[in-house]
């Protein structure tokens, strides 16, 4: 029976099911086929592609690199974002202006800014090495060495997404209740103690939410890498998404890349759920 309550839900639900669910089911089917440049179409080769995924060292390395990259960048974003939010939370001179300024990077297109960052990190003509040179530091091989490229991606990620942490955490700080602070002041707690015993526990739910949202988004990283380093030098900055992209849309191994992407999806869902559970126990457990 269609009633008025279905008028609200059904359009969106059906749209999403049509656009997402069918492609997903299709990917699952394709992953059991040998579809590639030579053989297009849906044959059935069993779990052969999956066997290949588990033996594919390059994929597992990309996954390890992705984990390292997202864990480091999200921790940096959180720490810096929280520090910035705390710094402009109470009245500061020019606070309004600083807030707007700090939000701007997350509004900019990652690939477009990566194009600019690439010129910044240019070894001989870019300002990064020029400025370091003013302090007597020799030229850093930003994009041509494995460590340099990894750090460059990290810097760009922190620049781009710290504002997102800042936004969520500041919005949280603004809506905190006043009473616990009065109580802390009466107890004579200093700035440091007030932060650890009042602010941090009150912010725990928002902290968990913000960390998880950012980890989800970071696990998909590929735009920045594509423009900044193309996964290089070698495979030094190749993330999972980027590796699957190479296999699927460049080498055109459709069947194999479908299997890769499904394994990747399952690993992401499982590990993000585990991280979410751990965070909940760690942070909320402490409050209770």
């Amino acid at each position: 029976m269609l009633s008025s309550k279905h008028f609200f839900l059904l359009p969106a639900l059906l749209t999403l099911v049509a656009i997402i669910l069918f492609p997903l089911l299709f990917t699952i089917r394709v992953s059991f086929s040998s579809w590639d440049v030579f053989q297009s179409g849906l044959d059935y080769i069993g779990v052969k592609n999956y066997g290949r995924v588990f033996a594919d060292e390059r994929f597992w390395q990309s996954l390890g690199r992705l984990s390292l990259l997202s864990l480091i960048s999200v921790s940096l974003q959180y720490t810096l974002g929280f520090a910035l939010a705390l710094a402009v939370w109470k009245q500061v001179r020019g606070g309004r202006f600083l807030r707007v300024l700090f939000l701007i990077p997350m509004m900019t297109t990652p690939v477009v800014m990566s194009v600019i960052w690439r010129t910044v990190f240019h070894e001989s003509l870019g300002p990064a090495n020029d400025i370091l040179g003013m302090f007597g530091i020799g030229a850093v091989p930003w994009l041509s060495s494995a460590t340099g490229a990894f750090i460059s991606v990290l810097i760009v990620e922190v620049w781009q997404w710290t504002p997102f942490m800042f936004l969520l955490l500041l919005a949280g700080l603004v809506s905190l209740p006043r009473e616990p602070y009065l109580a802390a002041a009466i107890d004579g707690a200093g700035t440091w103690r007030t932060f650890w015993q009042v602010t941090f526990p009150l912010m725990a739910p928002i902290t968990i939410g913000a960390l998880i949202i950012r980890l989800i988004e970071a696990s998909k990283i590929m735009d920045t890498v594509y423009v900044l380093t193309s996964g290089g030098p070698g495979t030094a900055t190749e993330t999972s998404s980027y590796y699957i992209y190479i296999r699927g849309l460049r080498d055109f191994q459709i069947g194999y890349s479908a299997a890769l992407s499904l394994v990747y999806l399952v690993i992401m869902i499982v590990s993000l759920t585990v991280i979410a559970k751990l965070l909940l126990r760690l942070l909320v457990g402490k409050v209770g």
Binding site: S4, I19, I116, T191, M268
Partner: protein, 281 residues
Amino acid sequence: MNKFYHILKTLFLFGWSLFVVFPFLWALTTSFKDANAITSGATYIPWVDYEPSTQGWTSLFTTGSQGINIVGPFIDSAAVTLIASLVSLALGTLAAYGLSRFEYRLGFVKNSDITFFFISQRIMPPIVLAIPFFLMLKELGALDTIFGLVLVYVALLLPIAVWVMTDFFAGIPKELDEMAMTDGCSPIGAFFRVILPNSVPGLVVAGMFCLIFGWNDFFFAFTLTFTETQLLPVSIVSLNSSVTPWWSLSAFALISVAPLACVAVIVERYMSRGTMSGAIR
């Protein structure tokens, strides 16, 4: 102690501000350089360090082999982003209202499961859907069209709209609907006459997030369009891989990030009013 703290804070805020504006300032100064100024190493101040030229900016509005046309991609980007955001916002708002006011049940599936289904789509890495999307749009004859991209972007943005609006409606008291309905409105009438006009702050926040994620997407535009439809992020990346001079690249980048940088002002206003806090939990 307190003074030390204050100095530390000021230094931190100053340092971070510098880091934030640096790439923009660098792009701005580069956009006024010519070949000589670029190849002589990093320079910063026009007239002092180098003689400024406007070719970076003029080349963007010149058509033909000499120019890089930014107008076409800008219009395509704006069209896709705006249409997809509006559609997602409309569908998402209706669904969020339904989920916050009625009970749906399909076997063991409850409201909370449906909400989770919507929001969980954000976890899906774009690469998982890229190939089926490609084949699906090919079947529909919608590859390389604005329509095809809008379709895909709706799937991308709908979860965001549902997520923000569900939280927003949870904060609007149900008595408001009930009052409208005792006045003789149908549930649908109550939504359009009473609830919707009271939802502007939520709609603004949700709409902004849709605009940000739509305008800034690169991957789907990159895999699903070629020559007929070109969005800004894809055009700049294809410029980047050819021998396009830095001055045009910089000017192009500045123009394509400018519209959303202005959105930051609106976000800040809603944040300091506290309307954002409900939307993020």
